[in-house]
Amino acid sequence: MAAAGDLIARCQAGDVEAFEALYRQHAARLYTLACRMAGSPEDGEDLLQEIFLQAHRKLGSFKGDSAIGTWLYRLALNHCLDYVRSRQAKMNRLTETLDADTSFEPTARRDTPIARLDLERAIERLPEGCREAFVLHDVEGFDHKEVGKLLGIAEGTSKSQVFKARMKLRSFLRGST
């Protein structure tokens, strides 16, 4: 705890090496969040860069009321949500209707465990709207009420989007075997 406090103090004093250490500690988690929310590693990279630049600018106001990891995570999540909102506003396709591949017809059973890489790729392919709800709920662990607040949608819409995402993933992963 004292070591973390010391690191923050050094960052706040302008020590770039200390800031790099902070980056090394938290970058993987935030990069993963950014990639999954944005739907591509390239956009995830850009987001991570912007998140840490913003963190660097704002670190002076960090008072230690929460853990630095929590503070960074909130900052990153807000940044990702801003990105998602601006893109959604542009694309104007938050809601999509359930289509044929989300119906549950009897299909060949998948007997092998899902490969991590297949799942990561499938998540990237999810349509905007349902991907963000799925990531926030199933990966990041927010409940539907929280997801609804974060994304500015109703709780029921969050449930519906997560279901849609799961059905899409099922369809994608069935195709990848």
Partner: protein, 296 residues
């Protein structure tokens, strides 16, 4: 109220019932009714098994490591941002001094001419992490750094040219101006503006990279030059495409993407030079590895 009526349609449980069942958030009545249905419905049983497997696999996903080049970019941006801020202070000081007839500091022209979006992202107040004495000492080398900072910052945080962004507004724009040609000219003019900024950023980075390229071993330098030549060719082709079809979104997108690629490669080159100068072999190796991945 019957759980079956509430959660099950004519044939199968509805999506909410299935979702809640998979998440383990159904109440007892719903859970029983879904379980009873699953006992006789192969399709729903398979669905539930698949969704549970997806949930399990999702829960087991691990974090991904960002590519090494990301830290290099952040570090450069921090340095440039700090230097731009210091230069701004110096300029303010210079302005005060010039009132007294002693303004000799070279004007970091570009720092004051950032696009509004870029300057909004650059800290305006005194840099909190830098002491007064340290920035004064460094002042003499800061004019060109400030120019580079302004240029690169515009690329890193400011330039947000979005090809096709007129698309959504096109009907109203056209209605307002009464002319499709006006809209096309507006897009073309905006693209030209973005192009000029990208070219300026590229020129600044090229200047830094060319000045210090001796720090690189000849093979790496040759590879970088080869990659830059490929990107230059792509830029020429996409530029020609834009010239022949100014309103084509794919052509605009392609040109902007090629500019971004070139800037990325130049940024990596500058980062590599910095690491070599610092004698940080591990850092240099990380960047070279990133360059190789990009080249593949």
């Amino acid at each position: 109220m019957s759980g079956v009526n509430r959660t099950v349609n004519a044939m199968h449980p509805n999506e909410t019932a299935i979702n809640d069942f998979v998440d383990g958030t159904s109440d007892a009545l719903e859970r029983t009714s879904v379980e009873q249905h699953l006992a006789t419905c192969v399709a729903c049983r398979q669905l539930v098994d698949d969704l549970r497997e997806i949930k399990r696999a999702t829960g087991a996903l691990e974090s991904r490591e960002p590519p090494p080049r990301v830290w290099g970019r952040i570090e450069r941006a921090i340095t440039l941002e700090r230097d731009a801020d210091v230069a701004r202070r110096l300029r303010a000081d210079g302005a005060s001094a010039s009132l007294a007839g002693a303004g000799t500091t070279q004007e970091p022209a570009e720092a004051g001419r950032l696009q509004p979006s870029a300057s909004d992202n650059v800290k305006k107040g005194p840099y909190p992490f830098s002491s007064e004495s340290s920035w004064r000492k460094r002042g003499t080398t800061l004019s060109w750094l400030a120019a580079a900072a302004a240029i690169v910052l515009a690329t890193l945080v400011g330039l947000r040219f979005m090809p096709g962004r007129h698309e959504a507004g096109t009907p109203s724009t056209v209605a307002q101006t009464g002319s499709v040609r006006d809209a096309a000219q507006a897009i073309e003019s905006e693209l030209r503006l973005a192009e000029a900024h990208y070219e300026k950023a590229i020129k600044g980075l090229e200047q830094i990279a060319n000045t210090d390229q001796g720090a690189l071993d000849p093979r790496t330098a040759a590879t970088l030059q080869k990659n830059l030549a490929v990107i230059d060719q792509a830029i020429s082709e996409s530029r020609a495409a834009v010239r022949s079809q100014p309103t084509s979104e794919p052509a605009q997108q392609s040109l902007v993407e090629n500019f971004k690629t070139k800037i990325g490669l130049l940024q990596d080159t500058v980062a590599l030079i910095n690491e070599m100068r610092k004698g940080n072999e591990a850092g240099a190796a990380r960047i070279v590895s990133g360059l190789k991945q990009k080249g593949n």
